[in-house]
Amino acid sequence: MNVLVCISQVPDTTAKIEFTDGNRAFDTTGISFVINPYDEFGLTRAIWLQERQGARITAVTVGDASVEPSLRKALALGADDAIRIDAEPRDSYQVANELAALVEAGKYDLVITGKESIDYNGGAVPGFLAAMLNWPFVNGCIQLEIEGRKASAQREIDGGREVVGFPLPAVIAGQKGLVEERDLKIPSMRGIVMARKKPLTVKEPLGTQAKTQAEGFERPASKSAVTLIDADRLDELIKCLHEEVKVI
């Protein structure tokens, strides 16, 4: 079984986000980057498939050379090889189209991604990819079992969850539950050394054009000063909830 794990390199969750170039670009100064948390759940689940069911894992990302540390980390955690598609990611459609070409040229049985990236939050690459490949798609996946060419999974839907079944090949977009936070690993020394010898291939992109364009950024409006209410005068809070917030 060949598993393609799509990862995205994103600012660390503790990062403070600022913009530069007249608010036309994200300011990467002083930002440390990590594998997108949703993708890390997917990568970890893929490593279980490797350890328990002999799967072979390829990690892929779309980006310039600056995203290679995340691919090296994926290799150190257990991916067998890595591919970087050498294009600047501009929107979900473009990224998915580049990934779809890679999948079609290879022999993959399963594509695992995170359900969204925590930088641009499009959440659309996995769906686009499944639609382009015409493969079964499970979004918001919180459990996955593979047996031969058949898979079963659980997904979050509006108002609850579902148990679903589907044949491979398929695209899975994972979130917490696919594995738990405590299942996430940091690379071992041996893993890091091994990773240096594993292949990281740079592929030329198709040159897909994006369908959307980022025009500018801003930071959300900050709150004015907090109104403190005495813990013994909660009737005042009730009054605010009624008169100002108007929820009661």
Binding site: Y120, N121, G123, F137, G159, V163, G165, K211, K223
Partner: protein, 318 residues
């Protein structure tokens, strides 16, 4: 230019709050660009409920294949039921899952997580959520066709009182690639992404056995319950309740944070809330800086007192 809306229903065929919001959003676009608003819904029990938000036409699809969620089949149904240049979907689990399929079918650009009305329509320009709430990004669409998913609670609903032409349709749909074997629905609970009021608690609660008062407070406010990341990681509450940068992003009218310190990763997912009340024993908790109202005190005393005050208010005001 026609605008097509996906009006989402719950398992009983009643419209979700997002349906009214999506139709209101489409009506706003029609006000800017002209054209009709066509709402498409699957098995709605009272399709006419959408008329007052400005739908010119409501197409109620009755195919039984549509009773179970399938991103590709729902996108196919929406694409075939109505023709339009712009499609409006809620940025819910189901809406966001089907949006790329629809965009590909319609050869349209996709913008997800819109948080405001478009600033222009031809070509479409709109602000969307980015960096999980730490930033706002304005996006311009290339070309005439667009699929847009709108964050629940971001622009709200607006009545504009028009008459609708209501039609029932059925169509030939493909077989879903994914089979639903079983479903577990959280009956009667308000969805955290759509709720007007969200009552959320963190590690300060000390253990899952103390959530009774959080649920009681949320019920009194007709709200939903949520939690911080550590609480869901420790298994005190289900992952589906986790709000924050790596959980759900929400924007209710009122967010009450109880025993949550307010780390930047948590604030990212909730800072779109219109009003924030923070209850914490630590006066230096960073959350107070992002709050509208703050109560410094022992939550095990404050929350029961707040519940008592709310009950008193409900009795006095019916």
């Amino acid at each position: 230019m026609n605008t097509v809306v996906f009006a989402e229903t719950n398992s009983e065929g009643k419209f979700r709050k997002s349906a009214a919001e999506s139709v209101s959003y489409a009506k706003h676009i029609a006000g800017m660009a002209g054209g009709r608003v066509v709402a498409v819904t699957f098995g709605a029990s009272e399709p006419g409920d959408l008329s007052r938000y400005g739908a010119d036409e409501i197409a109620n699809l009755t195919d039984k294949e549509l009773t179970r969620f399938s991103p590709e089949i729902w996108a196919q149904a929406l694409s075939e039921a109505a023709q339009g240049e712009v499609h409006i979907l809620p940025h819910s689990n189901d809406g966001a899952s089907m949006a790329p399929f629809l965009a590909l079918k319609r050869d349209a650009a996709l913008v997800t997580g819109a948080i405001a009305y478009p600033s222009a329509v031809s070509p479409l320009r709109v602000k969307r959520n980015a960096f999980s709430g730490k930033g706002i990004m304005e996006v311009a669409v290339e070309g005439e066709r667009a699929v847009l998913t709108v964050m629940p609670n971001s622009v709200g609903k607006k009545e504009s009182g028009s008459q609708s032409e209501i039609t029932e349709k059925s169509m030939h749909l493909d077989v879903p690639k994914v089979t639903v074997k079983s479903q577990e629905l959280t009956q009667g609970k308000v969805d955290v992404k759509e709720a007007n009021v969200v009552v959320s608690a963190g590690r300060g609660l000390k253990g899952p056995e103390n959530w009774g008062m959080i649920e009681e407070l949320s019920e009194l406010l007709n709200g939903a319950t949520a939690c911080s990341k550590p609480v869901s990681d420790m298994g005190w509450r289900p992952h589906s309740e986790h709000v924050g940068q790596t959980g759900k992003t929400i924007a209710p009218d009122l967010y009450i944070a109880i025993g949550i310190s307010g780390a930047i990763q948590h604030l990212a997912g909730v800072n779109g809330s219109k009003n924030i009340v923070v209850i914490n024993s630590d006066p230096d908790a960073p959350f107070f800086q992002a709050a509208d109202y703050g109560i410094v005190g022992d939550l095990f005393k404050v929350v029961p007192q707040l519940i008592a005050e709310l009950k008193k208010y409900h009795i006095q005001n019916g």
